[in-house]
């Protein structure tokens, strides 16, 4: 794996090859492994070690990037030439800022809310293929015990990311990551669980297998219900996969380009008063790089307070453009929040470390309490193949999957055939009746988040499928 010292030496070498006004180096490397199983058999099993370096050059208002994983002098010279060739032919962009200096980064970080994070766990980095296989073996034993088959993954990774620029910025981040996901499959039903953490010790594959098996058994022989509006209890993974679709709109660039559902809505009571959301890479249940694509420290940003959108995230350039725009007075606080993607890019910035605040201890309800208080409703384990139908109303479609249950009179009555939903996120977050304690959840459609389970009234199911 690349070390900070090695990366720094590569940066020094790159600087010798360029005549650009400014130069920036991004480094990313990983050693990752993933053991995949299905039909109670490990059928795919891989490990990969790779790293790449990505150089950005800037000539006045012109910038471009080139990336390689070849480190010999000739390749380094070539990658610099590629970036320069792409940059030199451009028209000057008056909004392109000079690269930040170390001093500017430090000044901007002063009110970021940054705290030290340590997400590197040796026990995660050291896990072997044999150990992953043994854990899979335990999950398969659970499947066999219940006369089911299982499919899933056990993955682990070490990740490094670094940034260096010719204005003195230098930062480095290392993290480990482990994840288990399992689907238990019966004749007529299935159940699912997924957990990830930087610390592999936080994962309990056998327990996850048991929960997935319980869901499979409890949802067998599903009945078909008429589509319509139902009270739903969304487990945290279902919440995260749905709400993830709106946070890409919480960026200054999205507002400036009028592609955000927050156009004309910042500062308004858009959601229920019980919705409070932060972007917070420093949260103990969060993970990820604490600096952005230009090396700016990420800020803790209060995005939604009591249902009112308070702020969006910014890169340096989008903050500057927003200050000069006609809508500057209508979008809340404007400052570079350390959420920019590496330049050049088409998105601008986005919050990537979403943390929902839970209700007060007295108001917090676990899923079992939500079920007990529901006269008739649907419990949803997981959502699938979610896509945006309407960008301004944030109307989403998708399916339920791997554990969908009918609740009647405060009890789970059994499984139901999966539904298609067409539901507005705005509507959904106006109708949250109760929430659980926020947890770190993983899904398949969105970045990992800290989210609670939610009980939502009038959730709009429009069709059913055949299983």
């Amino acid at each position: 794996m690349l070390t900070r010292d090695n990366a720094s030496m590569i940066f020094d070498s790159l600087r010798r090859h360029t005549s650009a006004d400014e130069v920036e180096l991004l480094v990313a490397g990983s050693r990752s492994a993933l053991t995949r199983f299905a039909n109670n058999t490990i059928h795919q099993n891989m490990e990969e070690e790779s790293q790449h370096i990505s150089i950005r050059v800037s000539f006045g208002g012109r910038t471009a990037r080139a990336t390689t994983n070849k480190y010999d002098e000739a390749s380094l010279r070539r990658v610099v030439q590629s970036a320069e060739a792409l940059a030199r032919v451009q028209e000057e962009d008056p909004d392109l800022l000079p690269m930040p200096s170390a001093q500017q980064v430090a000044q901007n970080a002063a009110d970021s809310g940054a705290t030290a994070v340590d997400r590197y766990f040796e026990q995660t980095a050291a896990i072997t293929a044999q150990e992953r296989a043994a854990a899979v073996g335990h999950m398969v034993e659970v499947a066999r015990h219940h006369a089911l088959t299982c499919a899933g993954i056990f993955s682990s990774a070490q990740i490094v990311e670094g940034i260096f620029n010719s204005q003195g910025v230098a930062d480095w981040y290392e993290q480990t990551q482990a994840e288990v996901s399992i689907t238990m499959i019966g004749e007529t039903s299935s159940g699912w669980q997924k957990v990830n953490s930087p610390d592999v010790a936080q994962l309990d594959p056998a327990r996850m297998a048991e929960i997935a098996a319980e869901k499979t058994i409890a949802s067998q022989h599903p009945i078909e219900l008429t589509p319509g509006k139902y009270t739903v209890i969304l487990e945290p993974s279902a919440v995260l996969d749905a709400v993830g679709f709106m946070f890409w709109d919480f960026g200054g660039s999205a507002l400036l380009e009028q592609r955000s559902f927050l156009n004309d809505r910042v500062g308004t009571q858009l959601f229920g008063a019980n919705i409070n959301v932060w972007d917070d890479v420093y949260h103990p249940l969060q993970a990820g790089v604490p600096f952005d694509g230009e090396g700016m420290k990420r800020h803790r940003v209060k995005l939604i307070e009591n249902g009112v959108v308070q702020a969006v995230t910014y890169a340096r350039s989008s903050a500057q453009r927003m200050r000069q725009s006609e809508i500057a007075g209508k979008v809340g606080p404007i400052k570079a929040t350390g959420h920019g993607f590496s330049l050049p890019n088409e998105i601008g910035e986005a919050p990537l470390n979403i943390v929902f605040a839970g209700p007060s201890r007295a108001e917090t309800q676990c899923v079992e309490q939500m079920i007990a208080s529901t006269e008739r409703g649907i419990l949803v384990t997981r959502l699938w193949y979610i896509r945006e139908v309407d960008p301004y109303e944030k109307l989403l479609t998708g399916m339920t999957r791997d554990g969908t249950f009918l609740i009647e009179d405060g009890q789970i009555r059994g499984g139901v055939r999966n539904f298609r939903f067409n539901e507005s996120l705005i509507h959904m977050l106006q109708n949250v009746e109760s929430m659980g304690e926020p947890v770190r959840a993983g899904g398949e459609e969105s970045m990992d988040m800290v989210v609670p389970a939610m009980k939502v009234r009038d959730f709009n199911f429009t069709e059913t499928t055949k299983f």
């Binding site: 990752s32 990505s54 471009a64 962009d93 993955s155 088409e346 193949y385 139908v389 429009t462 059913t464």
Partner: protein, 489 residues
Amino acid sequence: MKQIAGWALETARLRGATLAEARIVDERHRALATKNGRIGNASDAESMGIGIRVIADGAFGFAATDNLSRAGVEACAAHAVEIAKASATVKAQELRMAPEPAHQAEWSSPCKIDPFSIPIEQNLELLFAIDQELRKNKGVTLAEANMNFRRYEQWFYSTEGSEIHQTTVTSGAGYAAHSFEGTEIQKRSYPNSFGGQYQNRGYELIQELKLLEHAARVAEEAVALHSADQCPEGVSDIVLDSSQLSLQIHESIGHPIELDRVLGMEANFAGTSFLTLDKLRTLKYGSEIVNAVADATEGHGPGLGTFAYDDEGVAAQRTPIITNGLFTGYLSSRDTASAIGAGRSGGCLRAESWNRLPIVRMTNVSILPGPDPLTREQLIASTERGIYMETNRSWSIDDKRYNFQFGCEIGWEIVGGKRGRMLKNPSYSGITTEFWNSMDAICSRDEWTLWGTPNCGKGQPQQVMGTGHGSAPARFSRIKVGSAYKGNT
């Protein structure tokens, strides 16, 4: 390259592998984009490395590295064998491979003009000209245009004796006009949404797309959608343009015929399939006029699924998938073909790059055009009442591939064989086999386009792959329309 691969194969053999394959990949990608008069992207990327797949103790192992030194490659190969042996400790059935002869071959995709030879300023000039043309219409609030080129060179060697060198050049381009007004964001794209059109060709594709010529119309339609009527909710005949039909094929034919899904190997992520083994040659998938193939051969055209050999050295093939409405074939690999007793793989094992394990993938899954001359306008003229829908805006389907819902960017009502009022937010939904059995007309060869889907996600870790889909405008009777907005208007 042969020497590097040799280090891998020999090490794997000595460590106990009964089969070893080495894929060395050297790829280059250029991405250019503009956005509202500014550069959105200007980047080059290259990557090179080796992926080593082995069978040891009757199970698969895979390891990849970008360290191509002898020590690096040998360590990687040894590690692949260790991983395979770990895999073998959790095994419910034996791994068997359908036979494939060893091949020695050189192949390159057809490329008249190397896209990397085109001056960058020429590309940016075209993108900025499109951007300017789109924004001439004051209702356009966001103009996006992009161009992407990729050169992918692969050397494949196996202990069975295959030595295959393939080079593929891919080009693609497209643009979109967005319009925000009141409480609506509308969008029109050309030549297709989500990046445009992609094929395994050189810059000649970009020239043929006539990008600038369509920009004014695309901008006008994006703005006009604000004053169009909402697509009604109910049941209607629909006519789909070929780009929308290509995505319908991708989702409701291409994915369910993947044999790894059918066999449960993707159950945790991408899902399974309703096309269980008992359905082969018994299921009436579509109406009599539905004929579909999976065709990776050059004769099918320069699709994103065209190659000479797949990523385990199996020669490209044409497999009948639906024949006069009857379900007749799967997409397979050597292990999945063997698992169902097929004599040979269908040649569909593909990897995103050197660092990913190859998995069953679509090649070019295409619907064949109708035999009799029929243009899109003639198809609309022969439709008494219906809705014509164009260009995908949203797509979703369940994890067994039964229930789907698609939204399109624009629609028009058809009354008495004529295209009438514009409809905004058109959508349709249904059950896969019911939908394909309702197809009652399809246009002929001159309306058939081999579309590229450059962004198909599958696998864990997820891999993005390009697939090809030939299609022509077609008509479907009594389809549920407008349900996407049901309960939300």
